[in-house]
Amino acid sequence: MSVPFLESVLLGAILSGTPLLYAALGEVIEERAGIVNLGLEGVMLMGAVTSFAITVQTGSAALGVLAGATAGSLFNLILALLVVTRRANQLASGLALMFFGVGLSALLGAPYIGSRIAGLNPLEIPTLAHLPYLGALFRSDILVYLAMPAAALVWWGLFRTRWGLSLRAVGENPTAAYAAGYSPRAIQYQALFIAGLFGGIAGAELSIGIAKTWAEWMTAGRGFIAVALVIFSRWHPLRTVWGAVLFGGAVALQLQLQARGASVSPFLLDTLPYLLSLGVVLIWAGGRHHAAPASLGRVFEGTE
């Protein structure tokens, strides 16, 4: 009846890590284009509330995911308006976007609290689902299966396409990119739009995939953890996978340790994911190669 420890932790890691991974992938794209988005929390909430509401309205979780992703990207365009078009300070604009997202999602979601949905159902992959230890992985929902391919797709887009090259060029040196014939503003708009899609999907996985409920501020800080994961993974989409699994795994591990009756204070266990992240950053921070895009956070003033 009971599930082996490893399998349980692994499944928990994937479950808690998936929304983080999608959100972090979005943030990687934005930051590679030179924009720090501290409003990711708000973007995720807009995705979460929209996907839940649409799933309640239509009964279709697929439409819910689609709507959540769209809502995330449209909401992220507010940031584009502020920091790209109006050249506002990125950190302040991001925080404003977060609070706006918290408030607006609470308002939009109020009529849907307490609604019942089927949500994203687990898709069982035949035979693989009965593997020892790993079986539980193959009884996940579609967004879980797509998470790692999404990371690969972002990597390919950023590092193997011309568009990715121009995006990274804008993040490193927008003036040079402009001189080379690219429009930094257009590229940043595109980056923010796509990042918003990912943020919205992250929220959708949380509300209609994992919890199957909507509650105000249900992201509970995951947007900020995703921003930290990007730094942790040194702006590389494939390394965010490890970051998300590690952090998600630490959350799952601490809950699992409690359920198994480990004789450690629950308060201490609750800090485990953060301690673990700190430890990894400490170990990794020694690397000489610091990969932050050179123009991250700077306002591109144009080229008059």
Binding site: S8, T85, I113, A215, E216, V251, L255, A259, D270
Partner: protein, 370 residues
Amino acid sequence: MRHRGPHLLGVLLVLVISLALVVITMAGATQRTTAAPPKLIVGILHIGSVTDGGYNQAHAEGIRYMQRTLPQVEVIEVENIPEGADAERVMESMVQRGARLIIAASFGYLDPALNVAKRHPDVKFEHPSGYKLAPNLGTYWANTQDGFYLMGMAAGKMTKTHKAGFVVALPVSFFLANVNAFHLGARSVDPQFETRVVFTGTFLDPGKEATAANALLDQGADVMAMIVDSPITVVQVAERRGAYSVGYHYVGVQKFAPKGWISGLAFNWGPLYVRFARAVMDGTWKSESIYGSVASDYLIIAPFGTAVPASVVRQVSASKQAMIGGQLRVFAGPIKDNRGVVRVAEGQILTDQDFGRMDWLAEGVVGQPR
């Protein structure tokens, strides 16, 4: 190239934001329901959403009941008010709008309510689970331990794995007392029963609650219970994985578990709120600390689910009667904690006053209280 003059996108942005602000202000404005000339205006503020299927909805349904019973009472109701200065401001504005009875329906509203109460001695205040009184502020709550004992009994009769999972927000004394009571109830019918506890560290994080519930079910638990603001997530995870669930706060949550619902301990604040309103209207209101029990009309055992046999329902009802009659006491010694220390000696009985100091989990509970 710099754009000069009014920029279309900028104008659009201003429009969107002002529209959003208008919408937010309108929605934030309180809902007033007017009937004839009101004899009394009652203000109530909630910490969360009134449709949360849990703590807040229970209070809101109580107010609905009061409105139906006393149509001459007008209600000012606001949701999602943070504890602290915001709560104080909202209560102050309720007083300005004529409220003469204010229900400050969250634990953290106690001090703000005391502040406002001091400034307005003619307005009466009621606070759930408060531990301080003022001449115009009373408190109300009930002994939930007896109810959790009964829920534990039902869980002990239903389980096949002899294990329950309990998702709890924080290891605070009253919650530990509830978990212990649940466990003692289960052990009274199933001596090998085990209760596993996971503390999430927060009252509202559905994602974490789902992961916690899964971890407990992975440990072989086939009954889930919870003490968090909204029971919806834990009940749903249990139902999906074919486990039973025991709810808390609000009876309506059973719609999320048509198969696995056992029962739940729920607050039915309506009758109490009617009494408060009546007392204020005829001038008989007095400041007191009301502490009910399973015998009170406002603490109820939710309807049992279809999976529960009639014999179990009868046994639970019989125990409830024994509690009301005083023959059955939940914390009657000897009781050991899960480290083997005797916490309640033979012949000793813990009472309501002792629960506020409880810092241990009973023998057979897997979990760390500190």
